[in-house]
Symmetry: C2
Subunit: 346 residues, 2 copies
DNA sequence: CTGAAAGCGCTAACAG
DNA sequence: CTGTTAGCGCTTTCAG
């Protein structure tokens, strides 16, 4: 209330100490657990803290402690539901562990490397996901001593990595499609763009091979809905329209669905479509897809990071952690007719 | 490369200075613009920085500069697409402005107040959205001198606030529904839960009043899909099933759609449904809804915050800013039959 | 143009 | 149990 403490400069631990008639060390101790403070003293300090509406400066604390109590996460974008879920899972466990989280969406910006490096300077550890910064940047960050966990991103020697299963489930999907009797099946997505897409394509090819079908060349494209629309338009305009098109992710598939509808095509009658991710819209579009534990992906990264940050034991003596989270085929209407049992394929 | 600078302690400005044969002050200058450094010196320093893979400590810098170059944003959750978009817009402009962003999802946790206050201690400004922390906490944060912008949240004296238009568009929606000839219309959502929902309900009532129809009492419920399913089940089980149900947001509406389908009801034949937000799934569910500029909501908050942080002129002399972003009705199939013109109502 | 030195707010020995 | 006193890494006058 004292006018002198009002809107002026920041209220520091010194103000609190003076007003409570103790030293800053005591205030500092009272701020944390510390049974090294008389209940009476502690109470008095607590009262002053509230009276002054004091909040300790994180910067000061970070500098003194040598840590930030914060984690970072780098991802390409937040438009699709995919990364929103990953970030959510990450934030959730980080918060439980008492750490703040800093986000960095690279948006394919050219200065992503710089900003990522800069982010590394203000966190105790960070998760780096696909299509954000080149491996070289990751390596540099690791070299600065900041613990890193790779998320849905090709492994790097000595760096932990979590990802989700692709190939086996894609194979399952291929088998299902083959079971529908399709022989002309297209693939939308660029295997070179990410190991995830590569794995999905590989699994598909596995299935075709096993069925004695020729592997379709991938129609290389990005992963956004409008890109999907464009690619689909092209695909459907071609000489021999495929009977089914497997898309590298749901957004692409949703784009295909949009184009198909616009073209008056019946799905799955005229064209079967499948996606990957099982975003909310997929359900309402009746899209056959593959469910990924995105939340768990982020949560796992946060947990590992916490271990790396706190353990601090034998920096590189222990092997880098690797984990591939399971995925599941979700069969809906978009891939063809199913007699009766709709959502219980396996 | 020097073994002494490897994985040991953090590399500081001192290491760089020593190795470059200059003082830390010079390194500090070279780190930023500063034409106060000879190109030659600057280059030498730059080389050492890269050789040592040096990144300045944000904590040290924050302490010395008295600012964090970071913004915070507090939101309830990231599950729905709503806040993901808001956060995205926020991050995007914050990044452009050269500031990092810290996120805090309160999840309705009891310690939300504490964590929000703590967040306030590590940012230069923060956006606080609906249903996260009580007004008292916002006030305390404002009192600590941290600039705050309220997002989609009831205004507070002296605090900037951005939100989206509700009442007028809801009135428009009501008129449209009345035009379809419905007289028994239900409302799903709790006006007390947020001014947004209250505004939507109010607009609806406006429309009914104008048409001489009785205002339906709201079926109070949360805003999640499962909550919507539960509420819908209840609503549909009642004696007189409404002809149309207006939902406070899309997720609720999607839940109703799910229940209706499960019950074998035709939408809009047996039941018309509308939502609010226009999330991606809405399009594929053919849901009539209202589009909100969520991204812009976040972007605006970030811009205002930047002004508040940098301007620093006349702290409270200027009026608090207020802005209500426009929304637009999106008519699809779920609200009833439309002869021909589907997506062009107004 | 460059260096020396004084903090920024807090933590953590080290003495009482 | 409490106070003193160094720093943590960086920016920034103030002198050269």
């Amino acid at each position: 209330m004292a006018a002198s403490d009002r809107t002026g400069d920041r209220i520091t631990i010194y103000h609190v100490a003076r007003r409570a008639g103790v030293s800053i060390a005591t205030v500092s101790r009272a701020l944390r657990d510390s049974h090294l403070v008389t209940p009476a003293t502690r109470e008095r300090i607590q009262a002053v803290i509230e009276e002054l509406n004091y909040t300790p400066s994180r910067a000061g604390r970070a500098l003194a402690e040598g840590r930030h109590a914060a984690n970072g996460i780098v991802f390409p974008d937040l438009t699709g539901p995919y990364f929103a879920e990953v970030v959510l899972g990450y934030e959730e466990v980080a918060a439980e562990l008492g750490r703040s989280v800093l986000i960095l969406a690279t948006h394919g910006r050219p200065d992503a490397a710089r900003t990522a490096l800069e982010l590394a300077g203000r966190v105790d550890g960070m998760a780096i996901s696909l299509r954000t910064v080149p491996d070289g940047v990751v390596t540099r960050i690791v070299e600065t001593g900041v613990p890193v966990v790779l998320v849905a991103r090709p492994p790097l020697p000595g760096v932990d990595a979590v990802s989700t299963e692709n190939r086996a489930t894609a194979r399952e999907l291929a088998d299902h499609l083959v079971g529908h009797g399709y022989t002309r099946i297209g693939f939308l997505g660029d295997p070179d763009v990410s190991p995830d897409v590569a794995g999905r394509y590989a699994g598909l090819v596995d299935g075709f091979r096993a069925a004695g079908l020729p592997a379709p060349p991938p129609v290389r494209c990005g992963l956004d809905m409008d890109v999907g629309e464009a690619a689909a338009a092209e695909l459907l305009a071609g000489r021999t329209r495929p009977e089914a098109v497997v898309c590298a992710n749901d957004e692409l598939a949703l784009g295909v669905l949009t184009v198909a509808e616009r073209a008056g095509l019946d799905v799955p009658g005229d064209l079967a479509v499948t996606g990957w991710d099982d975003v909310m819209a997929a359900r309402f579009a009746r899209l056959t897809t593959v469910r990924q534990p995105m939340r768990e992906l982020g949560a796992t990264a946060a947990r590992w990071l916490h271990d790396l940050i706190t353990d601090r034991t034998s920096p590189r003596l222990v092997e880098a952690r690797r984990e591939v989270l399971p995925t599941a085929l979700v069969v809906r209407d978009s891939c063809g007719d199913h007699a009766g049992n709709k959502e219980a394929p396996t």
